[in-house]
Amino acid sequence: MSFNIVVLAKQVPDTRNVGKDAMKADGTVNRAALPAIYNPEDLNALEQALRLKSKVEGAQVHVLTMGPARAAEIIRESMYRGADGGYLLSGREFAGSDTLATSYALAAAIRKIGKVDVIVCGRQAIDGDTAQVGPQVAEKLGLPQITYAEEILDLSKGKITVKRRLERGVEVVKGALPMVVTVNGSAANCRPRHAKLTLKYKNAKTVSERQASSTDYTDLYETHPYLNIAEWGASDIEHEAQWLGLSGSPTKVKQIESVVFTAKESKRLTPADGEIEELIKELIANHTIG
């Protein structure tokens, strides 16, 4: 019996460490200055998928991502850590997708993959922080969802038991597969790259990557077909054009402003006793404290 786990992952700009050069003079974000990384919570999701794989005989983990050609990097990265392969969904038809158009495309790609038992993804991506794509994919596929998962505790008799980490507590829930599970950042970190797997998959590439390279991979891929990272465009998935990209996105960006805080006239103090005591006296006198 095959058991298929699909991990939804996204390559994102690293918004956590936005330096001064990340903002252009006109106040817009300079995406080129930000390194592209594996969305952190998607790595937590990959780890849960790999743990599940080790518990189920014959289970396979594949990573599905939507993005530009370079997003194949995170599929390769997943393979270095234990995934069996992946699919890159790429093409200009997908440009301008909001979360709903993204989930429509991902759901169509999952249908093409075929029988999927568990879909695991990060709770949210750090470039948008919306946490919408997981539940929206689940709804498009007509599957139930378990969000904010911290740990997949058990899988038996076709039912999965999951511990959820909520804002103010913990919940343990159980439900029948197939299911979408979105994983919280508080879940276990992803295992590091495995040296042997890194060696095995270092030449894993999409068609576009092979074509862009000066190396001829024809012979290698004849003997090692598992190196191929599937690359799908809109024509490879069953879809109606109106639901993809911009036209499939009900939300529109009206305006973008860069955040500028008005500087105040600050009083500068040193830690000298006299200065701290003066400050405290002043705060007491104007009823800020006391």
Binding site: D127, P250, T251, K264, S266, R268, P271, L279, I284
Partner: protein, 339 residues
């Protein structure tokens, strides 16, 4: 028809603060749009919900009361909203950006093909011109939210799809009673018409929800620590200072991520937004996402080793020095000079 809906989040029969905050905002928006403010609650034993929400100006309260609807699970609550919205066709639907609202909202928006904007920090009504299509839309909901790690603020609109959906974090909007004596209409929904038995596929085996111990929003004084505190051990002195001043302890994301403080103490875009009388930032460099959550504090004192820390730009007082040296002195001189 085409009214404004707020989904009420309920725990132990009590309507969550975030829902009351949304009702307050929803009331203002409904006045502007000259439509009704409606609220919907799904759960069990909801008799006491009306008295909690009517003072906020709710015109109609829809109740889906069924034992199986509590505790919250995704699909039954989704079905109630989706089917009710199909009947009532609201123009706007709001819910809390909580672990429930963020589980439910996207599901509902996907089913109705309506746009949803997560974690809005402001909601306004205004016009929108689609230059490509040559169309002008009046009275759209401006869904204003930070994006890109807080470095930009985006205004999002949903020109064509209804309802226009948004989630808002707790503490971002103000909670204000409209009329303590107001009583609106209550509509009890026949639950079996809205929910099918197959929606009950997730079983809740265990549930521990704690009442929040920390109330940052209500604290007049906040002593907040950042990564520069160095250790959980050092962080303790902030509790001492907050203790003598009668304040609460907050933290930056970096301090929470490194385990020095609990998540519920986090201030900033991904935490709580605060507006205290006094904010003392200790060892906080002032990442933009932190500043966004505390810049409206009436007075800000920044204590930092780095004379060029970004937080200094918005501080009223900048003390350049070691937190370990400054904080005990503040405690000492407060004790000496108060009373």
């Amino acid at each position: 028809m085409n009214n404004i809906f707020v989904y009420l989040e309920i725990e132990d029969g009590i309507v969550a603060d975030v829902s009351l905050e949304l009702l307050t905002k929803g009331r203002t928006l409904a006045d502007k749009q000259q439509c009704k403010l409606e609220a919907v609650a799904a759960g069990y034993q909801l008799d006491k919900i009306g008295e909690q929400v009517f003072p906020y100006g709710v015109d109609t309260l829809y109740l889906a009361d069924d034992k199986r609807l509590s505790p919250y699970t995704t699909l039954p609550h989704t079905s109630i909203l989706v089917n009710l919205f199909k009947e009532e066709k609201p123009q706007i639907a709001l819910m809390g950006a909580t672990s429930i609202g963020r589980d439910l909202g996207p599901r509902v928006s996907s089913a109705l093909f309506s746009g949803l904007t997560a974690d809005c920090t402001a909601l306004e009504i205004g016009a929108y011109e689609d230059k490509k299509a040559g169309k002008v839309y009046d009275d759209l909901l401006y869904q204003i939210r930070p994006a890109f790690g807080g470095n930009i603020v985006a205004t999002i609109v949903n020109p064509d799809c209804r309802p226009q959906m948004a989630t808002v974090r707790e503490g971002v909007m103000k909670k204000e009673i409209r009329n303590a004596k107001h009583v609106g209409k209550t509509v009890k929904l026949e639950v079996s018409k809205y929910v099918s038995d197959t929606d009950f596929v997730i079983e809740v085996i265990e549930r521990h929800i704690e009442k929040s111990k920390v109330n940052l929003k209500a604290a007049p004084i906040i002593v907040a620590g950042g990564y520069g505190m160095g250790s959980a051990e050092n962080f303790k002195m902030l509790y001492d200072l907050a203790g003598v001043l009668g304040g609460e302890v907050g933290a930056s994301r970096a301090a929470v991520d490194s385990g020095m403080a609990e998540h519920e103490r986090q201030i900033g875009q991904t935490g709580t937004t605060v507006r205290p009388k006094l904010y003392i930032a200790c060892g906080i460099s002032g990442q933009i996402q932190h500043i966004a959550g505390m810049q409206e504090s009436a007075m800000i004192i920044a204590i930092n080793n780095d004379p060029d820390a970004p937080i200094n730009a918005i501080a009223d007082y900048v003390i350049t020095g070691n937190v370990e040296e400054v904080v005990p002195k503040m405690i000492k001189y407060y004790k000496k000079n108060s009373k």
